[in-house]
């Protein structure tokens, strides 16, 4: 801290030389071609930090020192103009078009705007309009394909409100959250999601609580040097989100309304040629579909046991008896789907009012989104948000501002993933010849028996004879199970800005992010694995508080030398509570969904809270030489409660340098290269340890055996505590990621072609992980700073203005990024599983491999990697795991193409992901169950074929299955193969690994702007925009049954496995925007 104090002393000395400048007011209007007003243009006074914005009519008003010489007017997409003020007090400026990235203003880590050319690191900026128009419901997904180096991956298909992973420049951590820090108007907020593991319902991304329509810009700080001022919060990069503010004198009202129609974009292909059963024989209630050939049935009605038990369905009034002879050739795959899927839709409505005067401005908005998803029931998402941003100049030098928002998010979720209650589990395992229609009703054990109410009928429980249905009927999943998730969110950021001198200001900024989430899951009586019913209610609360106080000086000493200096203090606390209860076996089935409706012995509470705090001092300094060479440095010293006692404080320095070499005289008149900058930077950022990991803990254990059974030790004796199998560690320190990057920003042909290139290399040392211990040590893990990971990558952003004239404007832009990740050290541990999902073939950290590498059982191979075959020509399963493939893409890129003709515009965004693998565990399971289309194939043996079971299929015999040659001649893959080592439960995961290259038309938008309508609307409406668009219209992928943009293990580092995830969707949207 001594360093900071010295800097402060210097500042104090400078303070005493305060000068009172005299001020004058200048007004004016900014227009562009056709004399159209330019709203939201920035008007700044040269050599000061005084700036204002134009209102919707292009008017501005600015108070500047009498001696001010020039105004600088900038607007995205237009050339920045410098206008001499002279003696004028009313100035009209006409802007001419430039390139989009020209004179781009970027937001730095503390929320200051600065010119992009001054920065020595790469950032990407996403405009609010880009995310608001994406057609995505949530902000997280809306970022997809928008910026280089930023990878957005979905979890569990398009499940509404589900979290998606945002990964900036690859994984920088092994076990900690990969989510970037989200700084909303200067305040760090929760932009991540609770870890949801591989089962249950998805937990929503809290980033989606922010209304995209409120956003002015999102600045993505990708590298360590850009983010270093956020210290241990910033290793995954930072999303600096700035919300809108009002401007000008006139009140502007914007109304927009969007309707979206959503459809499932892919469905697993299922076979309809063979019935329920085993060994080629139909069998009622059989779990698998390896039964008879449906075409060989007589086609007569089925024979039913009318004297036996039956089921009377509530939902369709039909009676179901046990079939004793299956004759019907009817199959129900499509019907079963149609019973649970429909076209989803959402309405997104927003109203905003903004305005202000010379001393104040405000922005107020109300937004509501109401989505019913593609699953017919209990799958929806609603968000209502209110925002008020206001700012007031109290005096010439003191401004108070506040930005506050409240959001209420209610959603209903569907069970998915590793989960017997999963909706896709239910429908994809149902036999093709089983009719799911009647799913809930009374069961009668004899024709004259008494009714057993609320029984579930499913393909393994054809008349509801048992309380346990085996798997749920998919309709039961969507109509009877309920999973409610309600979030109340309040975020407020208040700022006091004192500017005693033209070149010096002090800022105090305090922010609070409070959220309260209530999750209620209800599994009614007669649900698979909970035949007595179960219920849980969880309350999560989080309060994040952040305070920044800093002083900043910025001065242009001459045209040759400018400088800035900042010192500050940061305090951050994160308080989380969980209060939850779960219970088993309802007292009154169908009674209140409340913990009160359970035997008291069956109710398990959980009560937890965690608190972590950090504080830091920081400083930054920058100088500019000859307006072409810029050098910046930042420094942060941070202490956090989660560090071990030996580790009190850590330092996070950064430096960057940028040189606009085209300002050299030799480039003065270049027609080809109109602008060129090279840049380089280095920085260190960190990640905090999880709280409460510094000591060995005692826990009240639930002992699990290898497969599903468990004992809750606390139910015995007077309760119990034993030592946790996770070893505590008093030596904990933060993970530290150091990164350097070099790059260049170039503009060619009068700025028509803009190219940005960046190479970066980063290394995270002391990565935290629960190092798996051989449990013979008595511990299964030690939480320690044990790993090292590195990322190397290239990012490219190219935009080209192909053609522009009075009517036409044709642009395209490309963002492309490639990241190579490698786990360089794991402290001697062979592999470390990243997912606790229960699905094998785990995404793992393995030394020398990319993080997330799939690790599982493969085929036995000889030294030449050739398959070792058994006597019948089949490969053999290995018994120990090996690396199977890298789930991270080789590269990702997106191309945006925009054509504007007069009032029409067309925008297309295509995203491509190249390489990487995904393990399709769903398909693998369906192979075992015999419902996959692959298992419906019929082949005729060309020669005598061996089966895995050792039997022989004679030449010329038609059989159910496929023919494959593993190297010793063709063999038959049939039931014994697919229910053995050729199916999921045979453990050989190598065979389900697919290349995960895909291309999608992410967005397509056609818009028409109706202008010049003030005449006939009598000035009330200034413009109307009508848009039709499509989202995810086309998808090219290697995977057959599911949109490959999905991940079983939500937003953790565990990637590349899909297992009964929810489907993806495509959408058709129409929207209307009115500007008053």
């Amino acid at each position: 801290m001594k360093k900071n104090q010295q800097l402060l002393l210097v500042l104090l000395l400078l303070l005493t030389t305060s000068v009172n400048a005299q001020l004058r007011t200048i007004t004016g209007q900014v227009t562009k071609e056709n004399n159209e007003p330019v709203p939201n243009a920035t008007v700044a006074v040269r050599n000061t930090s005084i700036a204002s914005q134009t209102d919707s009519a292009g008017h501005f008003s600015i108070r500047c020192p009498v001696n001010a010489t020039k105004l600088i007017i900038s607007y995205v997409g237009y050339k920045t103009e410098e206008v001499a003020i002279g003696t004028r007090s009313d100035i009209a400026i006409t802007l001419s078009q430039g390139s989009a990235a020209l004179q781009d203003v970027v937001v730095t880590a503390l929320g200051f705007e600065t010119k992009k050319e001054k920065l020595g690191y790469a950032t990407s900026k996403v405009d609010g309009a880009q995310v608001a128009n994406s057609g995505e419901v949530g902000l997280t997904d809306a970022l997809g394909g928008k910026a280089s180096g930023v990878r957005v991956s979905r979890t569990s298909g398009s499940d509404p409100g589900a979290s998606s992973q945002i990964l900036i420049r690859g994984q920088s951590t092994i076990t900690r959250s990969t989510a970037p820090l989200v700084v909303l108007d200067g305040t760090p907020v929760n932009g991540s999601s609770r870890d949801q593991g591989g089962g249950g319902t998805t937990s929503g991304s809290r980033l989606n609580d922010i209304n995209p329509d409120d956003i002015a810009t999102i600045q993505v700080l990708k590298g360590a040097s850009a983010a270093a001022l956020w210290g241990t919060q910033a290793a995954n990069g930072v999303l600096m989100i700035t919300t809108k503010k009002g401007s000008g004198q006139k009140t502007a009202v914007n109304v927009s309304s969007t309707y979206s129609l959503d459809q499932v974009n892919m469905r697993y292909p299922m076979q309809t040629t063979y019935g329920q059963g085993l060994n080629g024989k139909w069998a009622i209630n059989a779990p698998r579909s390896w039964g008879d050939r449906i075409a060989d049935r007589s086609g007569q009605p089925d024979v039913f046991d009318m004297n036996g038990p039956y089921f009377l369905a509530y939902n369709n009034g039909q009676k179901y008896y046990n079939s004793t002879q299956k004759n019907s050739k009817q199959t129900f795959v499509d019907q079963n789907w149609d019973e649970v899927l429909h076209n989803g839709y959402y309405w997104d409505n927003n109203v905003s009012v903004s305005g202000g005067d010379s001393k104040s401005n405000y922005f107020f908005s109300i937004g509501n989104i109401d989505q019913k998803w593609v699953i017919k029931s209990n799958s929806d998402y609603q968000r209502t948000s209110i925002r008020l941003n206001a700012s007031r100049k109290i005096t010439d030098w003191l401004t108070l501002s506040n930005k506050g928002t409240y959001a209420l998010t209610n959603s209903n979720r569907i069970q998915r993933g590793v989960n017997t209650g999963g909706f896709t589990t239910a429908i994809l395992r149902t036999s093709p010849d089983f009719d799911n229609a009647g799913y809930i009703g009374d069961y009668y054990s004899t024709p004259n028996g008494s009714a057993v109410p609320n029984r579930q009928r499913s393909y393994r429980n054809a008349v509801g004879a048992t309380a346990d249905p085996g798997f749920n009927n998919p309709q039961w999943d969507i109509y009877q199970l309920t999973n409610k998730d309600n979030v109340n969110r309040f975020i407020n950021s208040a700022e006091l800005n004192a500017k005693p001198l033209s070149w010096l200001n002090f800022v105090a900024r305090a922010g609070v992010d409070f959220l309260d989430e209530e999750v209620k899951n209800n599994w009614p009586v007669n649900t698979a694995t909970a035949t007595g019913g179960s219920y849980s209610r969880n309350e999560f609360k989080q309060t994040l508080f952040n305070l920044d106080v800093f002083a900043r000086a910025e001065k242009n000493f001459s045209d040759a030398f400018s400088g800035n200096l900042l010192v500050g203090f940061n305090y951050n606390s994160n308080y989380n509570t969980v209060l939850s209860g779960s219970a088993l076996n309802f007292i009154i089935p169908g009674g209140p969904q409340s913990l009160n409706n359970f035997p008291s012995a069956n109710i398990g509470p959980d009560d937890e809270y965690t608190l972590s705090k950090s504080n830091a001092g920081y400083a930054s300094a920058g100088i500019g030489l000859y307006d072409q060479l810029f050098i910046n440095g930042t420094f942060r010293a941070e202490a956090a409660s989660t560090f071990g006692s030996n580790n009190s404080r850590f330092f996070y320095p950064s430096t960057d340098i940028a040189w606009t070499f085209t300002k050299l005289k030799m480039f003065g008149n270049s027609r080809v290269l109109s602008f060129g900058k090279i840049r380089g930077s280095f920085g260190i950022v960190g990640i905090q340890p999880a709280p409460y990991q510094t000591s060995n803990l005692f826990v009240s254990p639930i002992w699990n055996d290898q497969l599903l059974s468990s004992l809750t030790a606390g139910l015995y004796g007077n309760g119990t505590y034993v030592q946790s199998s996770n070893k505590g560690n008093p030596q904990l320190k933060p993970e530290r990621k150091q990164e350097f990057e070099v790059g260049t920003d170039l503009r060619f042909i009068q700025d028509k072609l803009i190219v940005g290139l960046t190479y970066y290399q980063n290394k995270t040392v002391d990565a935290l992980l629960s190092i798996p211990q051989a449990t013979s040590t008595g511990f299964s893990s030690i939480y320690a700073n044990a790993g090292s990971i590195q990322n190397k990558g290239v990012e490219a952003d190219v935009s080209y203005n192909i053609f522009r004239n009075k009517d036409w404007n044709v642009n395209f832009d490309i963002n492309w990024s490639k990241n190579d990740n490698k786990v360089t050290s794991l402290n001697g541990v062979n592999s470390f599983s990243l997912n606790g999902s229960g699905v094998a073939g785990a995404s793992s950290a393995i030394q020398g491999y990319p993080l997330g590498e799939l690790y599982g059982i493969g085929w036995q191979r000889d030294s030449k990697a050739q398959l070792i075959l058994d006597a019948n020509g089949f490969p053999k399963a290995d018994v120990v795991s090996k690396p199977l493939g890298n789930p991270n893409p080789d590269w990702r890129g997106a191309v945006g193409f925009k054509v504007a003709y007069k009032n029409f515009s067309l925008y297309v965004l295509v995203e491509h992901s190249q390489g990487g693998v995904i393990m399709d565990a769903t398909e693998a399971v369906l192979l075992d169950y015999g419902t996959s289309a692959t298992t419906g194939h019929e082949n005729t043996a060309t020669t005598a074929l061996k089966t895995l079971a050792g039997t022989t299929i004679a030449a010329g015999t038609r059989f159910r299955g496929n023919i494959q040659d593993f190297g010793a001649g063709p063999v038959a893959l049939e039931q014994s193969w697919y229910t053995g080592i050729g199916g999921w439960f045979g453990n050989v995961y190598e065979q389900y690994i697919h290349n995960n290259t895909w291309t999608r038309f992410r967005e397509l938008t056609l818009a028409y702007t109706l202008k010049g309508i003030s005449r006939w609307t009598k000035g009330s409406i200034s413009s109307i925009i009508v848009e039709v668009s499509g989202r995810n219209l086309l998808l090219f992928s290697n995977l057959k049954g599911i949109d490959p943009d999905t991940n079983l293990n939500s937003n953790s580092s565990a990637r590349g496995v899909t297992y009964f995830d929810d489907p993806g969707t495509r959408s058709y949207l129409a929207s209307l925007k009115l500007n008053f």
Binding site: L8, P287, D468, G470, L496, A498, P500, F506, T531, V549, F550, L584, N585, L611, S612, N615, A639, S641, S648, P691, N696, F698, S700, P701, I702, W703, N704, D705, Q706, L707, S709, S710, L711, A713, L715, Y716, G717, N718, T720, V722, Q723, S725, Q773, A774, T775, S776, T777, G778, F779, G828, V829, A840, I857, A877, V880, S881, D928, I981, F985, N987
Partner: protein, 470 residues
């Protein structure tokens, strides 16, 4: 202007106040303790041993012993011997990170307060788990297990592990006989803290381990001090108010994976089912009660009905009077001649004739019969000599079969099959589920392969016998 400087001053004060004290001392977990006394730990250790002995390990061993048949999902693969190292991680965890470690911590805490009976009980629990691990995996870490000095505990030879287990049990017996203790009856799960049954169980356990290394004289000596009454059988209690204290077999069979396991084609079903062709009953033996206690249905499945062996609330055998009687029978038959062996067998049959361990709801006066055998019954052509063996072999064969059917659902049957597999004339000829041999061991877990450099490389295959059975 004064206000201006006041505000600036306040802000500056804020900047200067950065301080480490603000974050100190709040990283102590408010939700979990960092220590617990020995009696508090006891139920945790005991329940860990319960699920080790009665959970997935017992199910897998049963699937490989002809007690049940895997029909669905993972059970199909276990049935077909398609297992991988990763299938055994959690079982290993239960041995080491659950039982062994916490038993040792508990022991030190109990010793520190001179609670010697609890010291002894901790030794018994550790010996039980470690003995089971040696049975299943052969060479295993023991002397260096759970010792901070050894991040990669070496694998002690199976024989030396058994030896260590015996001395641990000797010490347990001494300590459990001690008069120094503080009452822990409310925490103790099995016998409310009463020592005599545990002491007897320790002897039976010693006998079991001697049996595994074929030291029959020592086994006989130990079993003579072993469990003396049915009431002293060491059973895992399952009140089954929630899933968490429900019999693990029931959890799997009736809650989590119904249909995954049944008795279709199982060898034990053939022996016990009175309607079956290989029924072991004869004019002096009626297995109806035992069969219905274990299995049910026309397609035989594991009986989970009220009061049956696999029912939610049925206590699961850890070490029992039944086992002790059968150890005595086998050892005497092997060591002390036909007559001594027959007397022991008839003692067991007398116990079974009164119902034995069969659940009372399954007993009627006529459905169970275990009349005493006469020597003549073991002569060629006698009712207890179906395989035309010498009378001595016939007796031993009969005892081994009694043991086999007595251990349905337990791990010990799998141990017996491997121990006696070379004595082909007398051993129980359970056919392999596939191929021509039954598995000889459990695989070392993936966690050891990944995390313990001392693990044998490559790990022994499923059909490599453990050293004592080589």
């Amino acid at each position: 202007m004064k206000t201006k400087y006041l505000i600036v001053g306040i802000l500056l004060a804020g900047v200067l106040s950065s301080c480490k004290k603000m974050v100190a001392g709040i990283n102590n977990n408010p939700n979990l303790p960092t220590d617990a006394d020995a009696p508090t730990m006891l139920p945790g250790v005991e329940t860990a041993d319960m699920i080790l002995q009665g959970g997935d390990v017992a199910r897998t061993a049963s699937t490989w012993s002809g007690y049940c048949t895997g029909e669905l999902l993972q059970s199909t693969q276990i049935q077909a011997y398609n297992v991988i190292a990763g299938n055994f991680d959690q079982s290993w965890f239960l041995v080491y990170a659950a039982v062994l470690k916490n038993a040792r911590i508990m022991r030190e805490k109990a010793r520190a307060v001179n609670n010697m009976r609890l010291v002894g009980l901790s030794q018994l629990l550790e010996a039980h788990a470690v003995g089971t691990a040696a049975d299943l995996w052969g060479d295993i870490p023991f002397t260096q297990a759970f010792d901070a000095q050894y991040p990669a505990p070496v694998y002690d030879a199976q024989a030396s592990v058994y030896k260590n287990v015996q001395s641990l049990l000797d010490s347990a017996i001494t300590n459990m006989n001690s008069s120094s203790f503080t009452d822990f009856s409310t925490q103790e799960v099995f016998f409310a803290g009463k020592m005599p049954p545990f002491i007897q169980a320790a002897y039976t356990l010693k006998a079991r381990n001697y049996l595994h290394v074929r030291d029959y004289p020592s086994a006989l000596a130990a079993a003579n001090n072993g469990i003396s009454t049915a009431a002293n059988s060491w059973l895992a209690p399952y009140p089954a108010t929630t899933k968490g204290n429900t019999n693990p077999w029931y959890q799997y069979q009736a809650i989590d994976r119904s249909g995954s396991l049944d008795g279709k084609g199982a060898y034990a079903v053939g022996l016990l089912n009175p309607a079956g062709s290989s029924y072991r009953g004869n004019s002096k033996t009626n297995e109806t009660a035992r069969y219905t206690y274990l299995y049910s249905g026309s397609i035989p499945t594991l009986n989970v009905a009220t009061g049956a062996f696999f029912y939610s609330k049925t206590s699961f055998p850890m070490v029992t009077y039944t086992e002790n009687l059968l150890i005595l029978a086998e050892c005497d038959a092997r060591l002390n001649g036909f007559a001594a062996g027959l007397t022991r067998l008839n003692a067991y049959r007398a116990y079974m004739a009164q119902g034995g361990y069969i659940g009372t709801t399954f007993l009627t006066s006529t459905n169970h019969q275990y009349d005493a055998y006469l020597a003549a019954d073991f002569n060629a052509g006698g009712i207890a000599n179906k395989r035309s063996l010498s009378p001595a072999d016939a007796l031993l064969s009969n005892i081994l079969e009694e043991r086999y059917v007595a251990f349905v659902g337990q791990i010990e049957g799998f141990n017996d099959l491997r121990r006696t597999q070379k004595e082909t004339s007398v051993s129980v000829p359970v056919p392999p589920n596939t191929g021509n041999q039954i598995p000889q061991r459990f695989l070392y877990p993936q966690g050891e392969v990944d995390g313990n450099s001392s693990v044998p490389k490559p790990i022994p295959g499923l059909f490599t016998a453990t050293p004592v059975n080589e």
